[in-house]
Amino acid sequence: MKITRSKLNIIVCTVLGVTITYFLNHHMGYGAIISSGLVGVFSALLLPAPLAGATYTASFVGMSSQLIIPNVFFALTGGLIVGIIIIGTTQIYAGIGGKGGTTAAMASLITRALTGLFS
């Protein structure tokens, strides 16, 4: 797979999306729904559509509980994983509501498996 600037942008956005949502959710105590909504609104206002979609998808991973993602470093890993999955599955089921959530669920479960390996 060729690494291009647009793919790197997606990875940067997903890592930031997961980390910010996780921080708002667990460290600032806003809760999963409000954190994801805030990240989604700001990403939709500030970023172009493909990057906003990737960031909003990544924010779903940040909604995970601390049993799944125990700290910010695993949130960064989750962001990287969801970014790779988004890049690999751009054309699959485009336009189906919940596609982002399903991608995020896959990334969360992979991150949980990694958490089990390293902790």
Binding site: G31, A32, I33, I34, S36, G37, L38, V39, G40, V41, S43, A44, L45, A49, A52, G53, Y56, F60, V61, G62, M63, S64, S65, L67, I68, I69, G78, Y93, A94, G95, I96, G97, G98, K99, G100, G101, T102, T103, A104, A105, M106, A107, S108, L109, R112
Partner: protein, 141 residues
């Protein structure tokens, strides 16, 4: 009464997201995020402990509302998808708790259920049956 409230909130959330996304042309991300954020702020404030469940189902339904017009062409179908979302949410309330993306998966399953049902009805219509490219699954034929 609680189940009825969950279904009503789900329908409202799904319709609002669909309208903001497609009719107001604000895009699916903004539509879903604003509905999620507003429901996350106001529903627990007005409905207390039960409002937390309503907030989650509103978020779940707003993810289903991100569907494209080519898949769900009108608001009546969106009402059906939102109702399926609410029922799936009630049935799967204890599955994969704490896993990020759980609500989106429920939304995707609801969309697939309705789109699959529509394709099934289309395929069983006698007028279009002979025009289909694939007439069997190809195991024995």
């Amino acid at each position: 009464m609680e189940i009825l409230s969950i279904i009503l909130v789900s329908i409202l959330s799904g319709i609002l997201t669909y309208l903001i996304s497609n009719n107001l042309k604000k895009g699916p991300v903004f539509a879903s995020a604003i509905v999620t954020l507003v429901s996350g702020i106001f529903l627990p404030h007005f409905f207390g402990e039960f409002g937390t469940s309503l907030m989650v189902v509103a978020a779940c339904s707003s993810y289903a509302g991100m569907v494209a017009v080519k898949n769900i062409p009108n608001i009546w179908e969106m009402i059906i998808v939102s109702t399926i979302t609410a029922m799936l949410f009630i049935l799967a309330s204890s599955a994969y708790l704490g896993v990020g993306g759980r609500l989106g998966t429920i939304a995707a399953l609801s969309c697939f259920t309705w789109i699959g049902f529509k394709k099934f009805v289309y395929a069983t219509n006698l007028n279009v049956k002979n025009t289909l490219k694939y007439k069997s699954v190809g195991i024995w034929s």
